[in-house]
């Protein structure tokens, strides 16, 4: 369970940190409720599904401040509460979400991620759970069924094969006979394949303040490059960086206008030329404008292009070359926008865009649909390109940093939670 605890701790955020956030609110909590909460035990909480919502919320806050002796138990308390509140009364949950939004904690991001992945999770995890319920023994049938689930998540046959091999080995080694506990092993192995011992894969290579950072966006048509740029601009601004946008999609009708609208929305200047002009020239202008204005980050849009169009890929190389000529180590990030609904072709996309522009990270868009985007595991495995962000909707704030553990957690959430409860009762 050690992996799981680590995962849980990371996902729910540092307990002490959460406490600080909640502190001011706790002072308002009335005495009688405090009494009540003192007596609360994890079991009692779980047995109170009909808890009045307001009380449930308060108690949960109090629960966090209880003298911390057994963190695991506390997290469960907090967690169970959150789940109750969420499941039972969604509307009441919202004000709290907003409150957390002000200072996004690891926990609230997980919530958001989970919400975005809810659709994915519903179908995927319920399938895993069905599976567990149906199979008591871990045998070939079980593995075959599991393989099907992963294939349906677009993970791709090679990666699935590798995972299945690892799982079979693990099951043999640990002598796992029944399906209880197998979900943790699955999650663990998926994360292992993804992370390969590396951490901090999602940090953007941003230059120190005062120096210009250039981020180049590439990808095939219709994956959401422009939208993602809008969202990323917003994100960087919220981190206190000034942002400028370069309208490098001079080909598609209306693309420049689209970026301009995003620029207006987030309040970022857009450097543009007329439709049909040379995108490299736009970049040249943009870099000079950005330098002159002392902007922190310049985000460059490019036209969508299919990776097998040699001329267009050459054009993209040129765009990158022009940027590098103006600023030697730029672009500091080349982000490939990838549609989560894309199947195995995503691997080819990643490979060829990497060859042309040395892609440094992926933004997995449209993850709020029912597609799972499992191909990112294969991309990471075969091409070593990490996912840096995920797009979870069309709103300005719907861009979140990718975290392999959270991603897997999103897929396996219910199963994992159940296991934790079981482990706790023992």
């Amino acid at each position: 369970m050690s992996f799981f605890k680590r995962l849980k701790a990371k996902l729910t955020g540092n307990a002490a940190e959460e406490e600080k956030v909640e502190q001011p609110l706790l002072e308002e909590v009335e005495g009688n409720e405090e009494d009540k909460s003192d007596a609360v035990t994890p079991v009692a909480l779980q047995e109170e599904p009909s808890f009045p919502v307001k009380e449930a919320k308060d108690i949960e806050e109090v629960a966090v401040t209880l003298p911390i002796e057994d963190t695991t138990v506390l997290e469960v308390v907090e967690h169970t509460q959150q789940e109750h509140a969420q499941d039972d009364v969604e509307e009441h949950e919202e004000p709290q979400e907003e409150k957390e939004e002000k200072k996004p904690s690891a926990w609230s991001i997980t919530q958001k991620f989970k919400a975005g992945l809810a659709k994915t999770r519903d179908s995927f995890t319920s399938k895993v759970n069905d599976l567990v319920a149906r199979y008591r023994k871990v045998d070939e049938d079980f593995f075959e069924e599991l393989e099907d689930l992963l294939l349906q998540a677009d993970v791709g046959i090679e990666t699935v094969d590798e995972l299945m091999d690892k799982l079979r080995f693990e099951v043999k080694r640990k002598n796992i006979k029944d399906t209880n506990g197998i979900q943790t092993v699955i999650a663990e192995k998926l994360v292992e394949i993804y992370e390969r011992g590396e951490e901090d894969l999602i940090e953007l290579n941003l230059q120190p303040k005062g120096e210009l950072t250039v981020i180049l966006f590439v990808g095939v048509n219709g994956v959401g490059k422009t939208t993602t740029i809008g969202k990323l601009a917003r994100r960087l601004q919220q981190e206190g960086r000034s942002v400028m946008l370069a309208a490098g999609d001079t080909f598609r009708a209306g693309a420049i206008d689209q970026l301009q609208v995003w620029g207006d929305r987030v309040g970022a200047e857009v450097v543009k030329q007329s439709e049909g002009s040379d995108p490299a020239a736009v970049m040249f202008d943009a870099i000079h404008a950005a330098k002159k204005r002392g902007v922190d980050v310049l985000i460059c849009d490019t036209a969508g292009r299919l990776q097998n169009k040699v001329n267009l890929m050459n054009e993209l190389e040129k765009v990158k070359r022009v940027i590098s000529r103006e600023i030697p180590d730029a672009p500091h990030e080349v982000l490939l926008a990838l549609d989560a609904t894309t199947g195995q072709n995503a691997l080819v996309q990643a490979k060829i865009f990497k060859e042309a522009t040395d892609v440094s990270g992926i933004v997995l868009t449209k993850l709020d649909g029912t597609a799972k985007g499992g191909i990112v595991l294969a991309i990471r495995q075969q091409l070593n390109i990490p996912v840096k962000f995920v797009g979870l909707g069309e709103q300005m704030d719907d861009l979140q940093p990718f975290d392999a553990e959270r991603y897997v957690y999103g897929l396996f959430a219910e199963g994992l939670e159940k296991e934790l409860e079981d482990a706790d009762e023992e």
Partner: protein, 452 residues
């Protein structure tokens, strides 16, 4: 990285069977396993794959294959036949309303290519069907979607109906149909906003638009690169609003396009058009047999044969074969070959059609740049007849002259000479292979970089 086609996949299994004399049920099973993997890698939905494989195995076990001397080919044949059958027979044209205007709705996920397809479709309607289409900008959500359609309308000189992004799409559609009647425009194409199939509010909006006037066609626009999720998307859209056909976009990419099969299997609606490029005339009718070959990664043999037969002179081909064997292949022959191939169409298209091209080392990533071909031609044309027949005599000063004459550089000439040498070597290999020896992997050295 390039995914293996079915033919290559079956190679291994067939090797095992060879010499056994009889094909067992287990062998068929093994082959079916490869069929399954090939289809999954082509992004065909797993459930669809399973049903499909079950059907194919039944036929395969039912004697044909096991008795056959060429079991591999038999399996491929059965698979292709079944695949083609599943893809649907002949293409169905657009259904027009006897009482104009005909209403066509374009629906789909974000980024599938609805707006671009709307423009292309209008272009086809005008050119091929002699209609007067009206484009309706009903995507009020995505920034600048309306501008995009307006720009396309301007490019095509077609009228675009828009009311800005403040009016509801339902009202826009209603007024557009009225407008079309007044202006005697006989087809109304409504470009709706991209939406997730699970977004109930937006799906309701589509139902409302549908409610104004029963559309004659509802086209689901799907990205041909879509993976396993294609089934969910198609099913949801079909259940909610009842699609009448599918347009598969971005098929000019290098995806296998298994989504086509998935969608067809779950909705049983025909694929009517395929998008083959970003230009406004790049919308083509759907060919089930071509799609079947493509999904299997087998190349479009039929089309290639058609083209080759039309262009290749049989006598010349014999002569060439002779030259291959005797190693007297010269630059003259080379350029003749180039010309013949060029007549068949764009080279990368042709390469795609060759079965197994993706497997041959060097060819799998052969990207053909037509400009590069022109350079090669220029270089060869700048050689003297003696140089063409006997490239060994090309010295440094001759190279300089050729470079000047062809407007290229000495490096390019060196490269061409080297590649020509390699090609000759390769031919030697191939001819020795043809004479029975060696399971050596086919290899065309330098072909990948030849046209770069």
């Amino acid at each position: 990285m390039a995914f293996e086609g079915l033919a290559e996949r079956l190679q291994g299994t067939i090797q095992k069977i060879k010499g056994k004399g009889k094909v067992s049920e287990q062998d068929v099973k093994d082959m079916m396993r490869e069929v399954r993997r090939a289809l999954i890698e082509a992004d065909v939905n797993l459930k669809v794959v399973k049903e499909f494989v079950a059907r194919v195995s039944e036929r395969a076990v039912g004697a044909d294959v096991m008795k056959s001397l060429t079991p591999g080919q038999q399996v491929i044949k059965i698979v292709q036949e079944e695949l083609q059958a599943l893809m649907g027979g002949e293409q169905s044209p657009i259904k027009f309303n006897t009482k104009p205007p005909t209403v066509i709705m374009m629906v789909g996920l974000q980024g599938a290519g609805k707006t671009t397809t709307t423009g292309k479709l209008a272009n086809v309607l005008r050119k091929k069907y002699n209609r007067k289409p009206l484009l309706v900008a009903a995507d009020i959500y995505r920034p600048a979607a309306i501008q995009q359609l307006e720009t396309l309308g301007k490019q095509l000189s077609l009228p675009v109906f828009s009311l800005g992004n403040e009016v509801s799409p339902v009202d826009i559609a209603r007024q557009a149909i009225e407008h079309a009647k007044e202006e005697h425009l006989d087809v109304v194409i409504i470009d709706t906003a991209g939406r997730l199939h699970i977004d109930e509010a937006l799906m309701q909006e589509l139902k409302d638009i549908r409610g104004i006037k029963e559309p004659d066609e509802v086209f689901l626009v799907v990205d041909s690169m879509t993976g396993q999720d294609a089934v969910n998307v198609a099913q949801s859209f079909n259940d909610a609003i009842g699609i009448t056909g599918v347009v598969l976009t971005k098929l000019d990419g290098d995806t296998r396009g298994g989504a086509a099969l998935s969608i067809r299997a779950v909705t049983e609606k025909p694929i009517k058009f395929v998008g083959m490029g970003e230009k406004m005339d790049a919308l083509e009718p759907f060919h089930p047999e071509r799609m079947a070959s493509r999904i299997l990664g087998m190349g479009d043999v039929l089309s290639l044969i058609e083209k080759a037969q039309a262009e290749v002179d049989m006598d010349k081909a014999k002569e060439l074969e002779e030259k291959f064997m005797t190693q007297t292949f010269t630059f003259d022959d080379f350029i003749e070959q180039l010309q013949a191939v060029k007549k068949m169409g764009p080279l990368d298209e042709i390469l795609k059609m060759i079965p197994g091209a993706s497997k041959i080392k060097g060819l799998d990533n052969a990207k053909v740049d037509e400009k590069q071909m022109a350079h090669i031609e220029a270089i060869i044309y700048s050689m003297t007849p003696a140089e063409k027949t006997n490239p060994e005599i090309i010295t440094a000063s001759r190279k300089k002259r050729i470079a000047k004459g062809s407007g290229t550089s000495i490096q390019e000439i060196n490269r061409l000479l080297k590649q020509f040498e390699d090609m000759k070597k390769m031919m030697k290999q191939m001819t020795s292979m043809a004479t029975g020896k060696g399971k050596k992997k086919m290899k065309l050295p330098g072909l990948d970089s030849l046209f770069k």
